[in-house]
Symmetry: C2
Subunit: 467 residues, 2 copies
C-alpha cells in the first residue's frame, strides 16, 4: 500500500471537516428524515444487525442457483427477485426485458495425450468456439504471458493449441485482474488471428484449487471464435512442469459450447419513491445473472442483496428526499447488456448518483468519489459516516461498476464502496462461488456502509449534479 504522511495542518482540516459534517438546515417535507450525523449513525449501527441481505443471498443461490445470462435460469431469477422486492415493500417493482446473443456451455474435457498422459480440468470461456463432438488433438505452444503470445509471428500457431500461463496474485483493490486478465480478455482473439486451432489459459484466479475460472472473452468482428478454455491453476502448473522437461506436449480438447442466437434477458427494477422528484434519482445496482459453474453467491447475489437491504433500510426510516432506484441488472457477465439496456431506456430521467456493488461479499475498506465540486460537502459527510466501519477515503476518483458505467461516462456522480478483494479471485467465476463462502458479518458491514451512504446522499439538501 501507499504510505500516507499526514501533516499537522491536514489533521486540523480533517477535524474541522468532521465538526462541520452535519448538513446545513433546510426546509424539509413532513416525512423527511433529516440526515444528521446522529441518525445516520443510528441507521448504520442498526444495519450491522441486518438479516435481509443474507436472506436474499441464501434464497437466490438456493432456490434459483446458477443463472447464466439469457437462459431460463436467469428468467427464473427475475421472477424470484421481483417477488422478493415486492414482499420487502418496494414500489414500482417491474421487469424490463431486452434481447441479446446467447452462448451456452457444452461438454468439456481435456487431457494430456503425450508425453505424460493424464486428465486435466478445464472450463470453456464465454464465447468460446466448439471443437466439434470429436474434439481436437494438437501440440501445445507455451507462452509464459500474453505479451509472449502477442510476440509470436503470424501463422506460427497454425494447427497448434496456444497455452498462456500467467499467475495472478491477490490484491486488496483487485487491480491485478486488469493486468493478468488480458490472457482471457484478448488472448483468444490474438491466438485466433495467429492461426491457432485453440487456446487454453491458466485461470485468471488467485487460488490453488482445481477449479477453472470461466469468464467472457471476445473475438473481433470477422474473427472466427476458436475453442478457448481456462485450466485450473494446478493443471496449468502441471503442464509447465512438463514443458520444463523439453518434450513436445500433445493435448486433447473437447469443448462443445453453442451460440443460441438472440434470447431474452432482463432487468428487475424497484423503487423507494422520494419526496422531491426534482432532486433526481439515486440508482444503486447489483447484477442478477451469474456464471453457470457456481451459484453466484459472491458474484453477484451479494451485491443484489446489499443494495436491496440498504435501500429497504432507507425506505423503512421514512420517505427520503430523492428516489432510490434499485437496479438488479441482467447479463452483466457477458457484456453488461442489462446495464446498457437500462441506460438506453432511462437516460432521459434525472439520475444524480449511481453506484454498483459487484466485488464480492467481503468488507468495504475504502470509499472513492466522483462527485462534482458543488457536492464535495456531501462526499465529506458520507466519508465521515463511514469512518466507524473501518472505511477510509481513497485518493483517486471513483470509476463505477459495469452496470452504471454509461452514467459515469455521461458525468453522473458515482461513489465506489470498495470491497476487500483479497480472496475474491479465489472464487470468482468458479464452481466454488457458493453460499458457504459468504461471511454474514462482512455482509452486514456492507449493508451498514450502503445504508449510511444512501442516508446521507438521498437526503442531502445540496445538488448532487454538476448542472
Amino acid at each position: 500500500m501507499q504510505k500516507i504522511a499526514l501533516p499537522a495542518a491536514a489533521l486540523s482540516l480533517l477535524i474541522a471537516s468532521l465538526a462541520h459534517a452535519a448538513p446545513p438546515a433546510l426546509d424539509k417535507g413532513p416525512d423527511m428524515v433529516p440526515a444528521t450525523l446522529s441518525n445516520v449513525a443510528a441507521m448504520r449501527e442498526a444495519a450491522l444487525r441486518d438479516d435481509v441481505a443474507m436472506d436474499i443471498i441464501e434464497g437466490l443461490t438456493t432456490e434459483v442457483g446458477p443463472r447464466p445470462a439469457a437462459t431460463a435460469k436467469e428468467a427464473e431469477a427475475r421472477t424470484w427477485a421481483a417477488a422478493k422486492l415486492k414482499a420487502l415493500g418496494f414500489s414500482n417493482v417491474r421487469i424490463e426485458t431486452y434481447m441479446m446473443p446467447a452462448w451456452v456451455r457444452g461438454e468439456e474435457e481435456a487431457s494430456i495425450v503425450a508425453p505424460f498422459p493424464q486428465k486435466l480440468i478445464v472450463a470453456a470461456l464465454g464465447n468460446s468456439g466448439s471443437t466439434g463432438k470429436k474434439g481436437l488433438e494438437a501440440e501445445i505452444v507455451y507462452f509464459p504471458t500474453v505479451a509472449d503470445l502477442q510476440a509470436a509471428p503470424d501463422g506460427s500457431l497454425k494447427g497448434k493449441i496456444a497455452f498462456v500461463s500467467n499467475q495472478m496474485m491477490p490484491t486488496q483493490d483487485g487491480s491485478s485482474y486488469g493486468a493478468y486478465g488480458m490472457a482471457r480478455f484478448v488472448g483468444p482473439n490474438m491466438a485466433a488471428k495467429k492461426g491457432a486451432a485453440a487456446i487454453v489459459i491458466k485461470s485468471i484466479g488467485t487460488d490453488r484449487h482445481r477449479m477453472p475460472h470461466t469468464g467472457v472473452t471476445r473475438f473481433e468482428e470477422g474473427v472466427q471464435p476458436i475453442p478457448a478454455a481456462a485450466l485450473s491453476g494446478p493443471d496449468a502448473d502441471q503442464i509447465e512442469r512438463m514443458v520444463k522437461r523439453g518434450k513436445p506436449i500433445t493435448m486433447k480438447l473437447l469443448l462443445t459450447p453453442q451460440f443460441n442466437g438472440k434470447q431474452e434477458s432482463g432487468n428487475v427494477i424497484a423503487e423507494v419513491p422520494g419526496s422531491d422528484p426534482s432532486a433526481g434519482i439515486i440508482m444503486v445496482a447489483g447484477h442478477l445473472d451469474s456464471w453457470d459453474l457456481g451459484t453466484g453467491a459472491i458474484d453477484d447475489a451479494a451485491g443484489v442483496a446489499i443494495v436491496s437491504a440498504a435501500a429497504k433500510r432507507i425506505m423503512d426510516a421514512g420517505t427520503p428526499r430523492r428516489t432510490i432506484r434499485v437496479l438488479l441488472a441482467g447479463a452483466e457477465e457477458v457484456g453488461s447488456y442489462g446495464g446498457n439496456a437500462y441506460f438506453e431506456a432511462h437516460k432521459s430521467e434525472l439520475h444524480v448518483l449511481t453506484s454498483e456493488s459487484d466485488f464480492g461479499a467481503d468488507r468495504i475498506w475504502r470509499v472513492d468519489f466522483a462527485f462534482p465540486e458543488s457536492a464535495k460537502a456531501v462526499a465529506d459527510r458520507i466519508a465521515t459516516a463511514l469512518i466507524p466501519l473501518g472505511i477510509g477515503k481513497g485518493e483517486h476518483p471513483a470509476s463505477g461498476g459495469a452496470d452504471n458505467a454509461l452514467f459515469v461516462k455521461a458525468g453522473v456522480a458515482t461513489v465506489d464502496l470498495q470491497q476487500d478483494g483479497t480472496r475474491y479471485f479465489d472464487l470468482h467465476h468458479t464452481a466454488d462461488d457458493t453460499f458457504d463462502k459468504v461471511d454474514p458479518q462482512q455482509v452486514r458491514q456492507n449493508v451498514a456502509a450502503w445504508t449510511a451512504m444512501l442516508a446521507v446522499a438521498a437526503n442531502a439538501p445540496e445538488s448532487l449534479s454538476a448542472k
Copy 2:
C-alpha cells in the same frame, strides 16, 4: 488436546533417560555407523536440507499423475518407481505383482430436478454400482447422520436415494475420520440392504470446496452394489437448505463405473542391505497407487518419497546393522491388496520393525511406539532424537498403517511418526490432491524424522523383537 502434567519425579527420569540415550558399546562391523546421539543428530540436521523426497513427489505426480489400483497407470507408476529407486542406488529393486478385482470410474453427473433445478458435483465411491447409461431419478430421503440411516425401517428406502449428510471437522490426529467416515465405509451397504436405489453422502472431508472426496466403500457378500457417490460439502449443504424448505426433492443421478474382473497390481521393493542378517529386517512403507481424481501428491507420493529419501540417507552413511526394506505398496486405497500380498510373500522373513508414512506431507508432531519391553531403550533413544524436530512422544501405543497392518497384528514392533492431519482431509481423495499442496519444508522435517528413527533403529545393538 490432552493436558499433560509433568511431575518433578517424571522430569528427573526424563533427564536421566536423555543422559543414557547413547547405546551400549558393542562390537560392530567395519562399515557400521555407530548410532551415537551426535551422529544421529548430524544425519537428522542434514536431512532438513533433503531434496530427494521433493524430487520424487514432483516426478511421480507429474510424469505419472493419477495411478488408480490395478490400472495401466499404476503399472506405469511401478516402472517409474523401480527406475527411480535403482537410480538412487538401492539394492534388490524389484516388482512383485498380484491379481486383484478392479473397479473403474465412469461418467458421473447429478442434479436436482425439483423443486429447485440445478447441477450438483459428485464423484462415485470405489465399488459403487452403476445407474446404467440412462441414469436414475428418484426422491431423496435425508439422514443427518449414518445412525439415522441405520434407524430407518427395512424397506423404507425402496426406490429412493438415501442422502447422508454429516460434516467432519478437522483434527490434528485425524481421529474424526473414523467417526464421520462411517457414512462412506458402511452407509452404502446399509442403504442397499434397506432397499435404496442409490445413496449420496456428504464428502468425508473438512474443506469447503466443490470437490467431492471419493474413497472406497464395501458391500457385504451377497449385497448387490447400488450406485453410491459423494457430493462436495457445499453441494450437500445446498440440499440441506432445500430440505429445510419442506418440499420433496427429486434428484437425477448418472454413475457408470465398471467392475473389470481381476487385473494385475503390484508392489515395488528396494533394499539397503544390512551387515547382520540375524538382526532382522526393518520395513518402511508408502503406497504407490492413488485415487484417480487428483495426482496423489499427499496420498501417497509423499509417503513413498519420505521413506525412500530417509532410507537413502541411511544407505549413504554406510552399511546399517539391519536391512532396511522399502515397500512401495500397490492398491492400498481399495483394500491394502499390496500390503497384504507383501505380507503373504514375506512373512517368513524376520521383520523386526515395520512402519508406514501415509497421512500426507505435513510435519510430524508426535511419535508413538509399539515396541516390546526389551526394546524400550531403543524407543527412548528414537524419541530423544526427535525432540529437536518438535516431535513429542505420545501416550498411546502405535497402531501402524494399512500396509504394515498384518505385521502389527502379528506382533512385530511398529513406530508411528504421526503427521499433522489438520488439513489432510481438505485434500484427501479429491482432484485437489496435487503437487502444489506439498510444503517442501514440512516434507524435509518428515525426512529428518524418518532418518533419525532409522539411524537409531537400524543400528540398535538391542533386539527389536519380543522373541
